[in-house]
Amino acid sequence: MNALLQIDGLQVFYGGSQALFGVELEVREGQAVALLGRNGMGKTTTIHALCRMLPSRAQTLRFAGRDLRSLSSYQVARLGVGLVPEGRRCFPNLTVTENLIAAARPGAWTLERVQEFFPRLGERENQYAATLSGGEQQMLAIGRALMTNPRLLVLDEATEGLAPVIRSEIWAAIAALKQEGLSILLVDKSLADLLPLSDHCVVLERGRTVWQGPPEGIEEEVKTQYLGL
């Protein structure tokens, strides 16, 4: 058992209404895990609860051997959860370089290495993030997470709303990161891109984990019933 991330019985309430009813999720060292489910089934909520951006209840919420349940979100991030949030969420009025260094932590990923990985971020280093294209902002959001030298990269809809050419660029970057042995938790709508990268899939339905297994094990029944395909 060398689970890097272990979530069991995760429940989240938004005020009086319950959003998650018991999510189960495990990411092992070096694994890429796909979190699947139709819109509104709790994927982003699960990620927010993992990052402690939402109050939650859980039987187990462990990362790298630490119980996350009493930590605040910056402490979770410092343990090594590198979040690339949905909608990119760069700091619009900071320059590209400022965005990258703001949360940097020492490790293998340095400014130079991120600029090498995404050459465009080097070319635009003094530009404000607000003036970047969507694809560039996405690269910036990923680069910003890498600069924290995470043990687990969490990508929430990393290719949403991007042009096909840019999407394949982003997917290639994610594949390269996986190749290096980085553990990744992925949420995306494009199963065709997502599944070849994933070692393991977790399907959510109405705030519960209803299926998990290897990507080649996803049968037609799962697809039609839970993924709306």
Binding site: L83, A102, A103
Partner: protein
């Protein structure tokens, strides 16, 4: 980045002007203008301190007079005991050496800012403004009612404190000293802004939750910035006490906190030379309109209103274009 180059030119013009005006006054022997320039430099220094908290960190402190006044009283009290040859307490002697006074002022202001910050940074927005104001008012009433150092009447400094190699009683030399300290503080502000710490601070101002999700502790970073901000403003207070050779509770009054905010807004929030421009405008108004009418603050108020409504970037924003704060 054309705007950035224009801002650099404005900064150089301001730095040169603040030096040339008193230099000319020195040559033609008009010490009044040297005093004014020194006042601008010291107020700008206090503004640089506030700009760190308000401009970079978005912390609208309405209580920076507490640090300004504390610095002033450090200078006043230590000079008072040095003059009378009595110990401050527990046998600690007073001093008339500016360097020691400055260090004490910086350390005590930093400690006070850390305490005030630790309590008030748990809030934000209007509550933060009110709590910082409340702390400053507490200190204000304390000095007002404490008779040992003059209470309401304030405390005079009979002979200006000394700086090695300078005769601080000559206003030109005091100006040079104040100018040098201001430039060092501006350089420090620039270093902070360009460092990882500055990026984290600005990230928190834009979105604390987003910053926290990336591993930045909003409270820790803001507290450190607030303490550093208080230190710089406290140093300015000590220098102001030596310029006017007088310390009184007025230095701690809420009007002083307001004046510092006005300086930042007039000059340009978060801009490197914003406090210099703002302090220059404020002192110019005080002198020229103050000579014409007792109600010069009315006209300053109108200008402030104009800036807030039509030129949010202050004087520097007006000349050099909007920057990230727009």
């Amino acid at each position: 980045m054309a705007d950035a180059r224009r801002e650099t030119i404005v900064n150089i013009v301001l730095a040169v002007a603040l030096f040339v005006v008193p230099a000319v006054a020195y040559v033609i022997d008009e010490p009044f203008f040297i005093t004014l320039a020194t006042r601008v430099a010291i107020l700008a220094l206090a503004g640089v301190g506030l700009n760190l908290a308000l401009g970079l960190g978005g912390m609208v402190s309405f209580g920076h007079a507490a640090f300004f006044g504390l610095g002033g009283y450090v200078a006043g009290v230590l000079a008072h005991h040095a003059f009378s040859g009595t110990p401050v307490f527990w046998g600690i002697p007073g001093t008339n050496q500016m360097i020691i006074i400055w260090i004490v002022a910086i350390v005590l202001s930093g400690m006070l800012a850390a305490i005030i910050g630790a309590l008030s940074l748990r809030t934000s927005g209007i509550f933060f403004i009110m709590i910082t104001l409340a702390f400053a008012q507490m200190l204000f009433f304390f000095t007002l009612s404490w008779p040992a150092y003059g209470g309401e009447d304030g405390l005079p400094i009979f002979v200006r404190n000394q700086f090695p190699g300078l005769n601080t009683m000559r206003i030109w030399e005091l100006f040079l000293l104040s100018y040098a300290v201001l430039m060092i503080a501006i350089l420090l502000f620039r270093m902070v802004r360009n460092a990882r710490f500055g990026a984290a601070l600005m990230a928190i101002r834009q979105n604390p939750d987003r910053a926290a999700a990336l591993g930045i502790s909003p409270f820790g970073v803001k507290l450190a910035a607030f303490a550093l901000s208080g230190m710089i403003t406290g140093l300015a207070g000590a220098m102001m006490a030596d310029l006017t050779r007088f310390v009184s509770p007025a230095m701690l009054a809420w009007q002083m906190s307001g004046e510092l905010i006005v300086i930042i807004i007039l000059g340009g929030v978060g801009r490197l030379f914003g406090p210099v421009a703002g302090a220059g405008i404020l002192v110019a108004f005080e002198v020229f309109f103050g000579g014409i009418t007792e109600h010069w603050q009315f006209w300053l108020g109108l200008v402030l209103l104009g800036v807030v409504l039509f030129a949010r970037g202050g004087l520097i924003g007006l000349i050099a274009g909007r920057d990230r704060h727009g």
